[in-house]
Amino acid sequence: MNVVFYISAAVAVVATLLAITRRNAVHALLYLIVSLLSVAMVFYTLGAPFAAALEVIIYAGAIMVLFLFAIMMLNLGPQTREQESQWLRPETWGGPAALAAILLAELIYALVRGGGPISPANPVSPQEVGFALFGRYVVVVEMASILLLAGLVGAYHLGRRAGPEEEEGG
């Protein structure tokens, strides 16, 4: 389990780094899906199989497909990649990357305290998560449903084309 965790963690970091540096949006999306799948593997090794399944189904499945549909609707041509190459110069990304590296060093320094081991021998079962979700956290579930409804209505309202000719059809 230990080795699987470190391999998945390395794959996740490398895939995420590749995802934010690609010129082509679809390539970045595919690398991000690899990263999300390896994070799901990390969840599994940490003893959270339900979160791993949700990560694959909702994140790597639904949300990334939403991104893919948006990229398809944008219909980006090859000139976009030229533009990305122009924007992504070392003098542009050097400063923010260095500052983020300093922040990461600080975070790691703050996190190394010896917090104790995670034992995968007693994983948190989906049953326990379900009991917590619809017991103590039932208000949170309702709030999440209201949030998703607001997202649905907002996306529908913002996504319709303005103009009289389309409004007749709808």
Binding site: T16, V42, A48, F67, L88, T92, A100, L104, I108
Partner: protein, 102 residues
Amino acid sequence: MATVPVDHALILSAILFTVGLTGVLVRRSILFILLSIEIMLNAAGLAFVASGARWGQPDGQVMFMVILAVAAAEVSVGLTFVLQMFRHFRTLDADALNQMRG
């Protein structure tokens, strides 16, 4: 069975969060900025799940599901804004949106 220290899971979460933050800072395409925000949300979820697994409590995974719902709502509205922006300005450059009225 070998166990994973909780520090290492939290450090992985910190690395992923920082990579996502770097993506937000260095990319100018609004699509990549949204993608990097997804990376950051996912890293926050990883921290929740790791902490929940450390103490064997289901609360971490409940919070992860809340983060999933927030990410789904955010990305649907955000991508709709991206489509509207591309319709109005014919570009994905975040610097094109420097005026309140488009």
